[in-house]
């Protein structure tokens, strides 16, 4: 069985994380920014599972479980904040949200 080397998974996760970072930086829709953050969290999950596999231990997968919980909480609170911003500003464009900008 030709197993995929660990390095390949780590490179793929690194690329996914970098793409998520670009998404956070370039998009102006606040919801898309939250989605890009989910992408970054998922890239980290991939490294956890890859290491769990190559170490032969379940611990990494427990951490993935915890990361997913944090992601769910973050998405819920983030979307509620966006909802509130939309109520007051009628926009989710982050260029319009400049109250705390110096």
């Amino acid at each position: 069985m030709a197993a995929v080397p660990l390095d390949w998974y780590l490179i793929l996760a690194g690329l996914l994380f970098a793409i998520g970072t670009v998404g956070v930086l370039v998009s102006r829709n606040a919801i898309v920014i939250l989605m890009a953050i989910e992408l970054m969290l998922n890239a980290v999950n991939l490294t956890f599972v890859a290491f769990s596999h190559y170490m032969g231990k379940n611990d990494g997968q427990v951490l993935v479980f915890l990361v997913m919980t944090v992601a769910a909480a973050e998405a819920a609170v983030g979307l509620a904040i966006i909802l509130n911003i939309f109520r007051t500003r009628e926009s989710v464009n982050i260029d319009d949200i400049n109250l705390m900008k110096w």
Partner: protein, 175 residues
């Protein structure tokens, strides 16, 4: 065979990850994010982790993405035009930053920090590796306190979301 599945799923994950933030329509972004998450679930299956793969599909691609889709629909953001870009320098800067990140990941391979993981690699997955029983046992023994704190975190998120989304008197705007 395993390599082909890895390359296919990895390619799909990467391409749809890029497509997430290059869409004008936020609904399309959500759909591409679901595709990325599904491709990563395939990778989890490839790594003998069926429990995490199932969680990925049910919790991530199911619950969290429906939440995103619901908010996109609620705010009626279909084909939103954001006008001209105000920060023109951000885009090239972001790409440079991402390249630096990738180079950092590649630099890790030079340090030898991964040698231990390579040494301990074994292909014996006959036990409870990646099953609900195996992961669940760890959750309720070694990781009991983090697991319980997670429930407190979820309660805090629940309360925070309810307070944030509640219509308070004196707050303008209707939705």
């Amino acid at each position: 065979m395993e390599m082909a599945v890895f390359l296919g799923a990895g390619f799909v994950a990467l391409v749809s990850a890029i497509l997430v933030f290059t869409q004008k329509n936020p609904v399309a972004s959500v759909v591409f994010l679901v595709v990325t998450l599904a491709a990563q679930a395939v990778l989890f299956l490839l790594l003998n982790a069926p429990f995490v793969a199932a969680l990925q599909i049910i919790v991530y691609a199911g619950a969290i993405m429906v939440l995103f889709l619901f908010v996109v629909m609620l705010l009626n953001l279909g084909r939103d035009e954001f006008g001209p870009e105000k920060r023109k320098f951000i885009r090239p800067l972001a790409v440079v930053f991402a390249l630096v990140l990738v180079l950092e990941v590649l630099a890790i391979f030079k340090t030898g920090l991964l040698d231990q993981a390579r040494l301990t690699y074994h292909l014996d997955f006959t036990g409870d590796f990646g099953t609900v029983a195996g992961v669940g046992l760890l959750l309720f023994t070694r990781y009991l306190y983090p697991f319980e704190i997670t429930s407190v975190l979820l309660l805090a998120a629940l309360l925070g979301t309810v307070i944030l989304a509640k219509k308070l008197p004196g707050r303008k705007g209707e939705l």
